[in-house]
Symmetry: C2
Subunit: 194 residues, 2 copies
């Protein structure tokens, strides 16, 4: 069975390797902007996007294939989905919104497969609560200077310098990194795809 | 000021690099076996060991120096301190004890410094609760076969394949890895050592 990760994220690639030693990476052609996030609750947005991303890659394949897509949404303390910062000012705005408060991070996983002619689809989401230390303007500026915030939803990466801003989490850690690998392996096993 | 990490753990080294770009590593000559863990509550054991480890290295130094020592204790669901497994059977016994249950991981940090002739000492501990998935014998055997359990208290490493066994945590993730870097940086800053 051919295994494909429908995500270009190096973090998801690293985590999926804990489940499958070998797979290919095909970033999804699905255009996130074609889906209006305003019409979807932030809690289900990641799962919807993950399904769409995986399905778009799956439709380009033939024969026995398993496609796994993922999406991570950071929900601000005020309940709004936070995207990736556009610039340093935007990153600072996001970090100030998270400072000294708790927020939620949801990763959605979409799975599509074809096996002996039959097709199947499955998806799930995992939610983790993250509590930030109160941040000073100096800390925010120093963190932005690392360059880490720019390709990350919510403006931080928990597995790098961003982890220094986090006081504690409640839930699955790898879910915040971008792929809840422990849960995913269990779901794949239950589906007979391991 | 000379900065020394009094621990040979590659994980602590990697995490301390998030705080100080440069430091030396001097594994502590303090013999853990000289301290009878049976006489100490598991919750304070890590902090006591971390102080002793840091102090033993500090006493070998001269001039302006900062020494940081760390120790991590995994406390079984039954409340006993778990060491590093002696062999595969011991690792399997530990993993069975953690399976499907919650346990606590405490990292202690000991800090000793000399600055302009004056000396100071400080220590603290951080506790994280870890919940394991229920594990099958097959999963336990497969995890032991990775070789990961053998140099780790409790028989697992949360940052590697061992993270697949963990359903969720409540607290500081890096504390479970072995050095609560975010908390440590804040403590060092409050002490004027950053």
């Amino acid at each position: 069975m051919k295994i494909i990760l429908a995500s270009g994220s190096p973090r998801r690639k690293e985590l999926l390797r804990l489940i499958y030693p070998e797979f290919s990476v095909v970033p999804s052609p699905f255009d996130e902007k074609s889906l209006d996030p305003a019409g979807l609750p932030p809690e289900t947005l990641a799962e919807t996007l993950a399904r769409r991303k995986a399905e778009a890659v799956f439709r380009q394949t033939e024969g026995d294939t398993l496609v796994i897509g993922g999406d991570t949404v950071v929900v601000s303390p005020e309940g709004e989905a936070m995207g990736k910062p556009q610039d340093a000012a935007d990153a600072a705005r996001m970090l100030r919104a998270l400072s000294g408060k708790r927020h939620r991070v949801t990763s959605g996983i979409g799975i599509f497969w074809r096996k002996g002619g039959a097709e199947g689809a499955h998806s799930f989401r995992t939610v983790t609560q993250v509590a930030f230390y109160p941040l000073t303007e100096k800390e925010i500026a120093a963190y932005i200077a690392t360059g880490e915030p720019f390709d990350k939803a919510g403006g931080y990466g928990i597995q790098g310098y961003g982890g220094m801003l986090v006081e504690k989490i409640d839930g699955d850690y790898w879910n915040v990194v971008g792929l809840p690998a422990g849960r995913l392996r269990r779901e794949l096993e239950a589906l007979g795809l391991l």
